[in-house]
């Protein structure tokens, strides 16, 4: 259900515009706290990453914030305290969340507390990955599709994280608005053409709550991918007190495919 994407592809072909890297002077804003992480349904060390925004002109980096107090509260009011394992990376003991439960994350930095809650949805499992080919203007392009069965009695939101050769190449969300209760085969529009035989592809399939869905949907929209460009804005975070980022309680299942 991405007609806009097709239009974009089509328009792109018609108007093969000329691209050039240019210099642009951008302002530097005061740093803002960013919290990124979650809790899933696997028994593992759950991770919360805390960082700060930094200047556009600096090289990309993880601008970690140390010394934060990170606590996740379960519905029964028991808590898990995360410990800092490297600057800005906070890790729990092995634990797992349970679908249907609401989790609350409290992060305290320099006496200021940022809180967010997320409800872990019922689990849907990723059945398989398949390759799909499209013939567009004499050029065949291969994409990967995720296959799963959407449950009829629930409103579901999904997130697909595609890794090629261990690197995250695509991170997108979808929901069952148009295909509730059906077998779904959803194409991830990441071109696989640079891959050679033996390269592996991994798709992590998450079931997420509506706020998390909206966060990632908005992130994608602002980036101009997946449709015509939308006036960019910061995606609405579920954190209080002006922190950026998202706290995500999700179920996860992963499949791997190898290019032959």
């Amino acid at each position: 259900m991405r007609p806009i994407l097709f239009i974009a592809i089509f328009a792109g072909m018609l108007l093969s515009g000329c691209e050039k890297v240019i210099e642009l002077k951008l302002d530097d804003s005061a740093p803002v706290i960013v919290i990124d992480g979650g809790i899933n349904d696997q028994s593992e060390n759950q991770i919360i990453k805390i960082s700060k925004t930094y200047s556009f002109s600096e090289p990309n980096k993880f601008n970690g914030v140390t010394g934060a107090k990170v606590v996740v509260t379960r519905p029964n009011m028991s808590t898990v305290t995360y410990t800092e394992v490297s600057p800005g990376i906070y890790q729990s003991v092995k634990t797992r969340g349970v679908p249907g439960n609401k989790y609350t994350l409290d992060v305290t930095i320099d006496g200021k507390k940022y809180s967010a809650s997320s409800m872990m949805p019922a689990k849907v499992v990723l059945d398989s990955l398949t390759f799909k080919q499209f013939n567009l203007f004499g050029k065949t392009t291969t994409y990967i599709a995720v296959n799963y069965k959407d449950p009829v009695d629930a409103v579901n939101q999904y997130r697909y994280v595609l890794k090629a050769k261990g690197k995250i190449e695509e991170d997108m969300v979808s929901n069952d608005r148009f295909n509730n209760g059906n077998k779904v085969s959803d194409v991830i529009f990441y071109k696989l053409e640079d891959l050679v035989a033996g390269d592996s592809l991994e798709v992590e399939f998450q079931c997420i709550d509506p706020n998390v869905y909206r966060y990632f949907y908005s992130l994608k929209q602002s980036s101009g991918q997946g449709g015509p460009p939308v006036a960019p804005s910061n995606p609405v975070s579920n954190f209080s007190n002006g922190a950026l980022g998202i706290f995500n309680a999700y179920t996860t299942s992963t499949r791997t495919a190898v290019i032959k």
Binding site: M1, P3, I4, F6, I7, F10, L14, G17, C18, E19, K20, V21, I22, E23, L24, L26, D27, D28, S29, V32, V34, D36, T53, Y54, S55, F56, N60, K61, F62, N135, L136, F137, G138, V161, I168, R177, F178, N179, N180, G181, N182, V184, S185, D186, R214, Y215, S218, Q221, S222, G224, G227, P228, P229, A231, P232, S233, N234, V236, L244, G245
Partner: protein, 798 residues
């Protein structure tokens, strides 16, 4: 008069609001009322003498719109012909000289003895001579003396000689060269008027509103200039007969067709070919005009032997048709239609088409020498279809907006100093946001989003009053209403976007009604024969809104109407201007300033998804707007060299409590400076050269002021909404036209053009992305759409 208009209106309204009358009945009532007011007994008392008639072109029999008719002698009185080439002047008995003039035509002067009501038609001959003395012989200071402000007319000949992208003549792009009217983007036919958005322009083609006036994602307009006779654009001071949009009125009238002989003309261009056929149905009584245009990019695709190439579709077409027949001196009927469509298709994967259809049936009737009536029945439809043909998730989406529109307009010449216009209008809207169909094997479920129905009613009265020799006024009042109608499950939302109430309504039930009074005033005071001061105040209301969350427009943009939550958009504009002609009206200068307040403007929350969103109102935000600016215009009107300079300084801002921390921000259409230069030089009877230069400040946009990492990927941090500017835009275009040797039966001409002569790399978009070779770096990437582009077109006529 005035009282009567209100009476009609209040009766209609009271019927609507006090009973649950179903639609057909309400229409019947309107029809009955119209029937009553159009009875012969309804004619007003007459005590003066009337001179009236039609003004037409000698060669084609086309009626001339806006021709000036003036009586001098026993008294002085004058008027201009209306949209149907009809004029009517009230005066006293006596002897006069009557003069009829129209730009580009030879003036007629003759003596006239008025002893009784007189009907006299004029046939004007085109003036092809370039001799300036002939042209200067008539005073043409209509732009100075007319009380109308904010009106700009485009000469269709200018449209044909100004250079354009790929040689496609385009009325909307020529319009963008005037001050106060700005292009919505590179190569885009969308336009912004005095801080308005693209959906705030009322675009009328033979009175029918055209919802999506662009082809091919905005690069070409739907108006084939072959079929166009008259183009007027109101940037402010709209007369009361127009209503429904906030920012402007673009009133386009199609050619009626040649009443004398059959002619065929056309052109072959890089992108498209055009053909127009016109001729008499009954000589001097009726005529027809058929005009068609089709692009042929897909023809090139067909040349490929590769099935994945030649099975693709990509084209658009326009089809204009019009016929008229003059039954007798008092009755003329017109039927006109427009059909246009874009089609895209990718083999057996994907199909997408969209287009407009409009049909206008009009009846001109002269109830008396002083009461001219036009009755219009208008149908307008815009729809799009998206097809996904892939087997596992095939689907088809159908969406449309459909209007039935009934208009009754009267023009009454009350006295030699008062000309009244009044009328009523009823529009019934049906918006089908989407019907999703799919085969049984598809993973997509069939869904139909509820249709929404709305009824817009309006009544207006307007008077053009010659207060004194120096002072002229057009003032009027428009009462408009909008009602959201059942059937449907109508939701109400709180300010957070949560549903607080859902109520089911039956067909014909009124959900919510809004009433508005729209005062209109435009006045001129002539300082001298060649200069005047003008002022205007206008209130405009908009009840149908286009929801587009992309930075450009898309054929899939969603139309919504007023509802429990969405309120009518309101704009109040004041404008002041100084108008001055020089050198015997050969040069025209104007300076206008305006200030505009806008209420109930609409924006979105972050992350709004418009596709198949039955709950889109939950994501809407409401706020205010303001726009102000200065427009300067200098034009050389006649001679071998003519052209103009237009300059605009302006500001356009919005304020929403939920956006930008409640602070005012620049709207995307804000541009500080906007300059256009147009020059047309007729070097010889066969060669014409023209050139256009444009410069404007970059658009207000949101760029990052920092970055951070989410899930190991770079994400940008935005602080102020639209706090940055894209780089300034400028471009120079040139064109040359070579006419064939005169006197031959087949007349042909060649047009050569170069778009963006010095190959300026204007930014179509600026993107921020990680360097593909060095992922630690973020780059700013500028995309340019059109560099230097030559074009050639061959035109013919026989």
């Amino acid at each position: 008069m005035l009282i009567f208009g209100w009476l009609v209106y209040t009766v209609i309204l009271s019927i609507f609001t006090t009973h649950d009358v179903i639609m057909p009945n309400t229409f019947r009532i309107i029809l009955i009322l119209l029937f009553i007011i159009t009875q012969p007994g309804f004619v007003f008392a007459q005590n003066k003498k009337t001179v009236n008639g039609n003004v037409t072109d000698a060669k084609t029999g086309e009626t001339l719109i806006g021709a000036s008719v003036k009586l001098t002698g026993s008294a002085t009185a004058g008027t201009v012909t209306n949209a149907y080439g009809f004029y009517s002047i009230n005066t006293q008995e006596g002897t006069y000289e009557i003069s009829v003039s129209f730009i580009g035509y030879k003036t007629i002067k003759q003596n006239l003895n008025v002893a009784k009501d007189t009907r006299i038609n004029f046939v004007l001959e085109e003036d092809n001579q370039l001799n300036e003395v002939v042209i200067a012989a008539t005073k043409r200071n209509e732009n100075v003396s007319s009380p109308q402000m904010g009106l700009q007319k485009i000469d269709v000949k200018d449209i044909n000689s100004v250079p354009v992208l790929l040689g496609e003549r385009d009325v909307l792009k020529t319009l963008q060269l005037l001050p106060g009217i700005k292009s919505a983007g590179e190569g885009n036919s969308g336009f912004y008027v005095r801080g308005g958005a693209t959906d705030q322009n009322l675009i009328l083609l033979d009175e029918a509103p055209v919802y999506n006036a662009s082809h091919l994602l905005g690069f070409f307009s739907t108006f084939n200039s072959d079929a166009i006779k008259d183009v007027s654009v109101y940037k402010g001071g709209m007369p009361a007969q127009y209503g429904g949009r906030l920012a402007s009125v673009l009133d386009i009238k199609m050619n009626d067709g040649n009443r004398k002989t059959y002619t065929v003309e056309g052109g072959l261009g890089l992108i498209s070919s055009r053909l127009k056929v016109e001729g008499p149905i009954v000589k001097d009584k009726g005529s027809f005009m058929i005009s068609a245009r089709r692009t042929y990019m897909d023809a090139f695709l067909k040349l490929s032997s590769d099935s994945s190439v030649n099975s693709n579709t990509l084209y658009f077409y326009d089809f204009n048709a019009k016929a008229n027949y003059q039954i007798d001196d008092k009755n003329t009927i017109y039927l006109s239609g427009y059909f246009g469509r874009d089609k895209l298709g990718i083999a057996d994967t994907f199909g997408f088409n969209w287009g407009n259809a409009t049909v206008t049936l009009r009846w001109n009737h002269l109830y008396s020498n002083r009461l001219f009536s036009n009755t219009s029945l208008i149908y307008s439809n815009y729809n799009y279809v998206i097809q996904n043909l892939m087997e596992e998730n095939n689907f088809e989406v159908n969406s449309s907006i459909k209007d039935f529109n009934l208009k009754q307009d009267f023009e009454y010449s009350l006295s030699n100093s008062h000309n009244l216009k009044f009328g009523v209008n009823a529009i019934h809207h049906t918006i089908a946001p989407g019907k999703l169909t799919a085969s049984e094997t598809s993973s997509v479920n069939q869904t139909t989003y509820e249709d929404r129905k709305g009824l817009e009613l309006a009544a207006y009265v307007s008077d053009e009053w010659a207060v004194s020799d120096r002072m002229n006024l057009v003032y009027g009042l428009r009462l408009s209403s909008f009602s959201l109608m059942g059937p449907g499950n109508i939701k109400s939302y709180d300010t957070e976007g949560n549903i607080i109430d859902t109520k089911a309504y039956k067909a014909g039930e009124f959900v919510k009604s809004y009433f508005n009074l729209e005062p209109r005033l435009s006045a001129s005071y002539q300082l001298s024969n060649s200069s005047s001061l003008k002022g205007a105040y206008t209130r405009n209301i908009q009840n149908v809104h286009l929801m587009s969350n992309s930075t450009s427009t898309s054929p899939t943009d969603l139309y919504i109407m007023n509802s429990n939550n969405v309120k009518p958009e309101i704009a109040d504009q004041v404008a002041l201007g100084y108008f001055r002609n020089f050198n015997d009206n050969n040069y025209e200068f104007s300076a206008e300033v305006y200030y505009k307040w806008m209420q109930n403007q609409i924006e979105y929350r972050s992350g709004t998804d418009l596709r198949g969103n039955g709950n889109v109102e939950a994501d809407l935000l409401y706020g205010d707007g303001r726009a102000y600016g200065l427009e300067l215009f200098f034009k050389k009107r006649f001679g071998r060299f003519n052209g103009w300079v237009g300059y605009t300084w302006s500001r356009t801002e919005r304020q929403f409590d939920a956006l930008n921390n409640g602070r005012w921000f620049y709207a995307k259409q804000d541009r500080t400076h906007d300059l256009s230069l147009v020059g047309i030089y007729k070097a010889s009877p066969r060669w014409t050269f023209s050139s256009v230069f444009v410069y404007n400040t970059g658009n207000a946009v949101t760029y990052p002021s920092g970055k951070y990492q989410i899930n190991d990927r770079t994400v940008f941090y935005y602080t102020e909404k639209n706090g940055y500017r894209t780089p300034a835009y400028h471009r120079l275009d040139v064109a040359a036209t070579l006419e064939g040797k005169p006197g031959r039966r087949l007349q042909s001409s060649w047009s050569f053009g170069i778009y963006n002569l010095y190959n300026r790399q204007n930014a179509f978009s600026i993107d921020f992305k990680d360097n593909p070779d060095d992922p630690t770096k973020t780059e700013v990437v500028r995309t340019t759409l059109f560099g230097i582009i030559p074009s050639v077109t061959w035109n013919f006529k026989f």
